[in-house]
């Protein structure tokens, strides 16, 4: 599974945090790989509307998440605040992972 994650906007709208990151789940430790896959499944990612980015309030962030998992492939755009807890958990996890990847560069 490959995940492309991008966040933009927010109060600071930092260019470094807007850089997209790619997560190759199969290269992650087994437990982390399983956790990410579980978050994707619980968010029902592959059956979500592709555009959940209704007009946002000022300073909220917008996200673009593209996931390619063999026969399943979908790109979803969304905006804060995220009402669905399962989708929010997925975004939180991807944001944490992206932050860790940027710090490791």
């Amino acid at each position: 599974m490959r995940i492309d994650f991008r966040a933009e906007g927010g109060l600071g709208a930092f260019p470094g945090l807007a850089q997209p990151v790619t997560i190759h789940c199969d290269a992650l430790p087994a437990a982390e790989n399983a956790h990410v896959r579980d978050l994707v499944r619980r968010a029902a990612f592959f059956t979500r509307p592709v555009d959940e980015s209704r007009a946002g309030a000022p300073d909220t962030r917008a996200y673009t998440i593209a996931i390619d998992d063999g026969p399943h492939c979908r790109t979803v755009t969304l905006r804060e605040p995220i009402a669905d807890p399962a989708l929010r958990d997925l975004v939180d996890a991807l944001r944490d992972k992206a932050r860790a990847m940027r710090r490791a560069r």
Binding site: P15, G16, P58
Partner: protein
């Protein structure tokens, strides 16, 4: 009618994202041990007092709207926003960002989005969106200056000072005095704000660069305030406030349309010297009025 009376309520979201959360401090209640709760309460009060004392405005809607804020929103949530009804503050991730209640100008910035939504309703995209952002930075900074009783030349003109942790190479989110210099960090990147139209950024990201191109009207306000001298809220701030309330200001206003109204309002509310200072400030950032 009596003087405007503020009604604040601060809620604790307890790391969840359901709003508003549990009420932890109502108007008149004493300070407790939670720093974020106290900072939010005090910041709401300082912003209310500024608009009431300086511009005779009764809260965000000028009709005494209760001011609500939720703190401890989300998990390591590194943002703050106004959702159209209330303030929302994250705790920050502790690595790059401190708590989002730490800067008075950030609290005032968010509440000013409410004022703009009630008055000019500037759409949140392109130049109108950058004006929306800039107006929030202008009054965010002025609320801080008013609380400190600072003159324009003594102010730092930073937005979000203290918000970045010590591990970040930067001093704030933005600088109105010197856009593009607030931070230059391996993780956050380099402050992209232009100070003049020569650096205007055409992009579809961030609603058309609303947080980037706001550097241009931000710098124009700074230049006008410095030229006029004294307390920035008295003349430059008043001109911008009256422009925000001006019925001729369209929700889709461009920088030039906004600028022209500030020049006209400088004449209307003050006089020739103020008109000259405001026009010169806009000219210096590349906008002819």
């Amino acid at each position: 009618m009596g003087a405007p009376s503020k009604q604040r309520s601060v809620y604790d979201a307890h790391a969840a994202e359901a709003l508003p959360g549990r009420l932890v401090r109502a108007e008149g209640a004493p300070a407790g041990s939670d720093v974020e709760v106290n900072e939010a309460y005090d910041g709401l009060g300082a912003t209310f007092d500024f608009f009431a004392d300086v511009y005779d405005r009764n809260s965000i809607d000028d009709e005494g709207l209760h001011l609500d804020a939720s703190v401890h929103y989300g998990r390591r949530y590194d943002n703050a926003f106004w959702n159209g009804q209330q303030m929302v503050f994250g705790d920050g991730d502790g690595e790059l960002f401190n708590r989002f209640t730490i800067s008075l100008d950030v609290i005032a910035h968010e509440l000013t989005h409410g004022v703009t939504g009630d008055e000019a309703r500037l759409v949140y995209v392109g130049q109108a969106g950058a004006l929306n952002e800039s107006v929030s930075d202008v009054f965010g900074s002025l609320v801080k200056q008013y609380a400190r009783r600072q003159s324009a030349d003594a102010a730092d003109w930073l937005i979000g000072e203290g918000l970045l942790t010590a591990s970040v190479h930067g001093v704030a989110l933005r600088s109105m005095k010197a856009p593009g210099t607030a931070y230059d960090d391996p993780v956050l990147g380099r402050d992209p704000q232009p100070s003049t139209m020569d650096g205007y950024v055409r992009t579809s990201e961030d609603d058309g660069g609303v947080h980037t191109n706001s550097g241009i009207p931000n710098h124009a306000f700074y230049l006008a305030a410095i030229a006029l001298g004294g307390y920035a809220w008295e003349r430059a701030g008043r001109i911008w406030y009256e422009t925000l309330r001006d019925r001729r200001l369209k929700p889709t206003a461009t920088f030039r349309q906004f600028a022209r109204l500030t020049v006209q309002n400088a004449t209307h509310f003050f006089g020739a010297s103020e008109r000259k200072a405001v026009a010169a400030a806009w000219a210096e950032v590349g906008i002819r009025t």
